[in-house]
Amino acid sequence: MEIRVENIRKRFGEKIAIDCFSAVFPVGGTTCIMGPSGCGKTTLLRLMMGLIEPDEGTIIGMPERKSAVFQEDRLCENFSSVANVRLVCDPHVTREEIIGNLSEIGLGESLFAPVHSLSGGMRRRVAIVRAILAESDIVFMDEPYKGLDAALKKQVVSYVQEHTRGKTVLIVTHDEKEAHDLGCGILLMPANGPEEDKAPD
């Protein structure tokens, strides 16, 4: 089982975001997408999420249920961390489960404070828990660990690995060390447009 991106092209006006790009992602595993700034990593993720349509090319085998940690946190500012996670959860996910997950990555002290009062790192963790607890078969993560210090990052990485076992996870990162530490497949995107197919290592 795999997800195939075939000859994708995407332009925004005159600017070519992705030019004839193909790749294969294994289902049920984690893949890090790396590449220089502006090479189209976020655009590729948005195409795969179905938020934008490609000008040319197809994406085959994409699961229905998706969740994501976006580049920005995209939280409901006036609501608490618990409420933000509850927004995307199925009814069978209990309040205790949400609280347990938030507490697991150090948010136990600020469960009910509105997220606008939280620090950048705390908000990032809320967005991560939201993506993990949403009912999904694939998790997209666009620079999920930015703004986290080394110790916290280790804790959050281990939380994500623990809770995404068996799921397809695509992580966009600039940090080569981070990609190697995660021990997953790495897809290198060159600056706009390889002609040949690529597959994760």
Binding site: M49, G50, K66, R74, E77, N78, V88, F112
Partner: protein
């Protein structure tokens, strides 16, 4: 300070017909409030103006939500809202007297004055919604009801609160003006009209004070209640 100046000006002028003193107004108000007809007039106007306001609040919100969702509805509603905003209130009052008589006059006028304010402000709030949040909701498959609760209601909160602050004052001003012209029996407007007929400045000032107190009181209470409801909603 203003009351002291008012008292001094009234004493200097010495003619209660032109400028009644604040003390006389308080005495007149105390005397009026001890009668049953005073409270009946207050209740008559209060319920009608508030009914018009609440009806416009509901209708304005529903129309704004529809217009935000369907551009055609927004385009179709625009000339009506623009016309209601620009038409002199006196024209509506006379039209209403011809159509429905004086009984429901203040309800109708209050409704008409408030509707475009609520509609315009709520629509502006809904239009300012961050499309990135819409994307997030689409990706996670958030239900329309949850979108309403988590996104749209908090989104319109500041717009709605500021609109209500303005609209309540306007609904009282226009509602009472309509009553003075239409003279529905037993209304505050009728009392003001009588004050004019009998050159009773004390009555005019006393009833004006009543209207100001009712308007400010209702505005403060209603806005506080709305803020509390919004806060409660966000504490889940």
């Amino acid at each position: 300070m203003a009351i002291v100046l008012w008292q001094m000006a009234a004493l200097a002028l010495g003619r209660s017909l032109l400028l009644v003193s604040p003390l006389d107004v308080v005495i007149r108000l105390a005397r009026l409030s001890s009668t049953g007809s005073f409270w009946a007039s207050v209740a008559f106007s209060f319920f009608r103006i508030c009914l018009g306001f609440l009806a416009a609040l509901s209708a304005g919100m529903v129309l704004a939500f529809l217009a935000a969702r369907v551009k055609t509805i927004e385009i179709m509603l625009w000339p009506y809202m623009a016309a209601v905003k620009a038409t002199p209130v006196a024209s509506f009052i006379i039209l209403c007297l011809i159509w429905i008589g004086s009984g429901g006059l203040s309800v109708f006028i209050s409704f008409l004055m408030v509707l475009p304010i609520i509609y315009t402000n709520v629509l502006q709030g809904l239009h300012s919604f961050d499309p990135k949040m819409e994307e997030m909701a689409t990706l996670f498959g958030v239900t329309p009801l949850r979108r309403l609760y988590y996104f749209h209601i908090p989104q319109i909160r500041p717009f709605l609160l500021s609109a209500c602050g303005v609209a309540i004052g306007l609904s009282w001003k226009a509602g009472i003006a309509a009553e003075v012209i239409g003279i529905p029996s037993g209304s505050i407007g009728e009392r003001l009209y009588e004050a004019k007929i009998y050159f009773s400045s004390a009555d005019l000032f006393a009833w004006t004070a009543v209207v100001v107190l009712l308007s400010i009181g209702f505005e403060k209470m209603f806005v506080a209640l709305m803020k509390r409801s919004f806060d409660q909603m966000e504490k889940i």
